[in-house]
């Protein structure tokens, strides 16, 4: 999911396109009329398929409702008999007394409930094959907060346990009432974004069912498997899904039924609108050819080439840096104007983007969103970490890779905004996010236990990014990239934990990094090192009245003192420049509160700077990392001029009244 803070950002120009592609625009109502490629790589079973969903759904646009039947085959690979099965009913979150909405209101007392945001998923019949109708055995549970009004998790107890290794087949009839788009799902005019819309079984993980309630700041967690989904809807609808189109049938009642198949994924979502324009393209990488569909909303067509280019660039760089993209499709849905709530979301092989009709080229917001959401195909889609409990592993690592890719594509200092008058890079943008309240929560906190929504975003997205950027200083950028590659290849199509990630980084780097991760990931220590003092004094200061024959004959004692202002302990490099051009690099382990370096030279100190290569992004104050003996007032004068002019101009506008 996109970080809210990214909505503030501005940006720049383009970059080289990856190789060979063709692009076409179509308004054909079947936007995904392609068949799966027959390449061997894509016919392998990639995941341990725990679930097999077969869903037939019918959309009623007049009521914004879906009626559906679901057959779920659950393979009991838990290693023990299972009698109780929990299911997510995410759509019940958008009700006033739900835990989700309670948390929304807690974090924003100005939030007012809108009836059109109401949504619900109602199970009308629940059967288990061979066990009969179990509808009456369903009960809502509230494992996180005991909120009895929350109906986002349902549990059913079977009459007989499912033996280890056996399958159980559930037959579920359900009805969805979709909300006006909220929290990445719902309708807006003729647009539908249908996500988290069917009863989804929990995950047996760490010896227990993991099926959390839907919270304001939580996302999702599910097992891999297959999805066969039939969607019936009006014939004029253009549909984008996270699956391959298998067949299309036009029905006599003016509807059509589209059948989709998807495998080795853990979710299935879809979007539809008669107003979409389908822009198609292809990309070929190490795992074969990927068909790209970009479903553009009216008014936004100017952004379509930017989406396509960014998607292909992202595919290329992820393929090179992290690992192969094994699916044969990628769908990007561009929500219509006013549909911000549907934008910037990830589902397996389908993402939603975000733009506006007026989006200037210098504002790289559309690119940023596509890179971020595509990155989730790796960090969430394939490396399927628990988003409820360790959000930093998907949103955080993904924000880091987003940063690296945006920097590579659009320049380190211009990867978010690139205008003649101002620039913004992703590194700075993520650090800006982190600086909000950097010590309120550790990265490892369960998502719904963060202090509030803002802290969740700042820490999960921003802090994780700067933690990993700073980690580059310790192990090197290339080593960290190699570690991410290893982590991906090792844990794709599984549910790894933070420990797995840290262990992989330590293994690849060959370094014990617990001293760092304990502070940066598990801790809330603040990070601030500064130059406390830098000055030179004549060595024979008592002879100040005597003048040496040449300035070079004068000997000076130079003092440079570095200080650790906060609790985060980190080794730092210090670069001292002297006025004869000499440079001295020092290293301090950073453990004590301060460290003084002393030099006797026939030159005076010119400047002292901590982290001269600017790699420690965790440092919350860059301005005190250096000290220039001779003041450089240009920045102050520049800001003064800008603000003075702004003040004068404001006065002119006000005086219109006079």
């Amino acid at each position: 999911m996109r970080s809210n803070t990214t909505a503030l950002l501005l940006g720049l120009l383009g970059l080289p396109l990856p190789a060979g592609s063709r692009q076409a625009t179509s308004t054909h109502p079947v936007a995904q009329a392609h068949t799966k490629t027959a390449e061997p790589e894509k016919q392998r079973t990639l995941s341990t398929r725990v679930v097999a969903y077969d869903i037939a759904a019918r959309l009623d646009p007049a009521k914004h409702a879906i009626t559906a039947s679901e057959t779920l085959i659950y393979h009991n690979l838990t290693g023990q008999p299972q009698k109780q099965f929990p299911f997510h009913l995410y759509l019940n979150a958008f009700q006033p007394q739900s835990t989700f909405m309670t948390e929304v209101r807690r974090d924003d007392p100005d939030y007012s409930w809108k009836p059109e945001h109401y949504s619900a998923i109602k199970i009308t019949q629940f059967e288990a094959t061979g066990m009969g109708d179990l509808t009456n055995r369903m009960q809502f549970i509230h494992p996180d907060d005991n909120n009895t009004a929350d109906h986002t998790v349902m549990q059913v107890e079977l009459p007989t346990a499912v033996p280890a290794g056996a399958d159980v087949e559930f037959k579920i009839s359900f009805e969805d009432q979709m909300p006006e788009v909220v929290a990445r799902t719902g309708y807006l005019r003729d647009f539908y974004m249908i996500g988290q819309w069917f009863p989804k079984v929990g995950v047996w993980w760490k010896g227990a069912w993991n099926c959390h309630q839907f919270h304001h700041d939580t996302e999702f967690f599910a097992d891999f498997g297959t999805f066969d989904v039939k969607v019936t809807l009006p014939q004029n609808e253009v549909v984008g899904t996270g699956g391959d189109l298998v067949s299309t049938t036009n029905n006599s009642d003016g509807t059509k039924t589209l059948t989709f198949h998807s495998e080795d994924v853990h979710d299935f979502s879809w979007g539809a609108s008669p107003s979409f324009t389908d822009v198609e393209d292809t990309w070929t990488g190490s795992a074969g050819t990927v068909k790209i569909h970009v479903l553009m909303s009216p008014g936004n067509m100017d952004t379509a080439p930017r989406y396509v280019k960014t998607a292909k660039d992202s595919l290329t760089l992820f393929d090179q840096w992290i690992g192969p993209y094994p699916y044969d499709r990628l769908t990007i849905i561009d929500p219509p104007h006013g549909g911000f709530q549907a934008g910037g979301m990830e589902y397996p092989t389908l993402v939603t983007a975000d733009t506006a009709w007026y989006m200037p080229k210098g504002a790289l917001f559309p690119e940023l969103v596509v890179v971020h959401e595509f990155g989730h195909q790796y960090w969430y889609g394939m490396v399927a970490t628990n988003e409820f409990e360790e959000a930093w592993l998907d949103e955080g690592i993904n924000s880091y890779t987003e940063t690296k890719i945006m920097n590579a594509l659009y320049g380190k200092s211009t990867s978010v905004g690139n205008f003649p008058f101002a620039q913004l890079g992703e590194d700075d943008s993520q650090r800006f996010t982190y600086l909000g309240r950097p010590d309120l929560d550790p990265l490892t906190r369960f998502a719904w236990l963060f202090y509030d929504d803002r802290s969740y975003g700042e820490i999960t997205y921003g802090k994780t990014t700067v933690v990993l950027l700073t980690l580059e200083k310790i192990i090197g950028e290339d080593t960290l990239r190699q570690a991410l590659h290893t982590y991906f290849m090792r844990y794709r199509f599984t549910h790894p934990t933070g420990s797995d990630f840290i262990r992989t980084v330590e293994e690849v780097s060959g370094k014990d990094l617990h001293w760092y991760f304990d502070q940066a990931v598990s801790g809330t220590e603040m990070f601030d090192y500064s130059i406390l003092d830098a000055h030179s004094d004549p060595l024979k200061w008592w002879e100040t009245s005597s003048h040496p024959s040449s300035p070079k004959d004068e000997l000076y004692r130079t003092y440079v003192t570095v200080r650790r202002n906060d609790d985060f302990i980190f080794p730092v490099d210090v670069r001292i420049r002297f006025d004869d051009g000499q440079i001295v690099d020092e290293h301090w382990d950073g453990r004590d509160r301060w460290k003084r370096f002393t030099y006797d030279r026939n030159s005076e100190v010119e400047s002292a700077e901590i982290d001269p290569d600017h790699q420690i992004w965790l440092d919350r104050n860059f301005y005190n990392n250096s000290y220039l003996v001779d003041a450089d007032k240009r920045a102050t004068k520049k800001l003064s001029n800008i603000w003075g002019f702004a003040s004068q101009f404001l006065a002119q506008l006000f005086s219109w009244l006079a």
Partner: protein
Amino acid sequence: MADAGPKTFMPGAALVWARQRVLWLLYAISFVLAYVATRGTNARVGAILDHSSAARQLTHGFNVGAFSSLAMSPEAPLGGLASASVSGAVLFTIFMIFATGGILMTYYSGERLRAGAFFEWSGHHFWRFVRLTIYLLLVLIPVLILGSILGRVYTRIDKQSISPMPAVHVFEATVVLILFLLICIRIWFDMAQVIAVAEDEHRMHRCFRRAAALLWHNFGSLFWLYFRVSLIAWVVFALGVHIWTDHLRSESIAAPFVLSQFLIIFWIACRLWQRASECIWFREHQRTVATNVPVYDAPPLAASESAVPSTS
């Protein structure tokens, strides 16, 4: 739109040029207020930036991240900056209300007023123009209501329309309409001020009504008089900002300062150009329509440099 009324374009500019002291006075006030508004912040910002190499991100280009980091630094150096600027703007506005009497007398009389006379005329009309400003604020209320209604129309269309463009067109039309109304209102009150000064009228409601009639019967002439100067001001302003952002070296200090101050001076000059044009227009209008006063004589108390206003 044709300029069917008296020729005011070049004479107005010439009058502003000839009475430059007014322009420099307003610019000096503007500059001093801006200086005061930014001085405290400059000291705090300087304490952070002047000895830091990180400040180079603001010198070479303008790194929004570095600026944001500065704004969020524990010393909060930018705190209070906006309120200081707004306070300065309010003070400048009050000064403009005060000085308008002197400005208009300078342009209407065509004479060079001594400083003492200028400020006495300013003081003479100050409370009158305060009352007129209150009238102006009252007149703006319906415009605000209209803007609010059109805003709701925009929101409704934006919410219902499949394409964003219909709402965009409504927005554009709304902006044009509101700007048009604001220009008309400004001309209306400008002329009311001119009447008040030219005829030393202390009953503002009379000026208010007479100016409305004047605008109604001479709309094309007065609108064109005002609008073309506004257009020049905005075009030059946009050009100047473009040069500043796109063509000046980002680390340059002197050139942006000179350019920015030129823009402010030009902006003030354009406003004075409008006022001078309005005074000339009204003088010529009086000359034309007042058959019993075939040749306009300067108002009794403004005819010479020593003239001072009577008490009212």
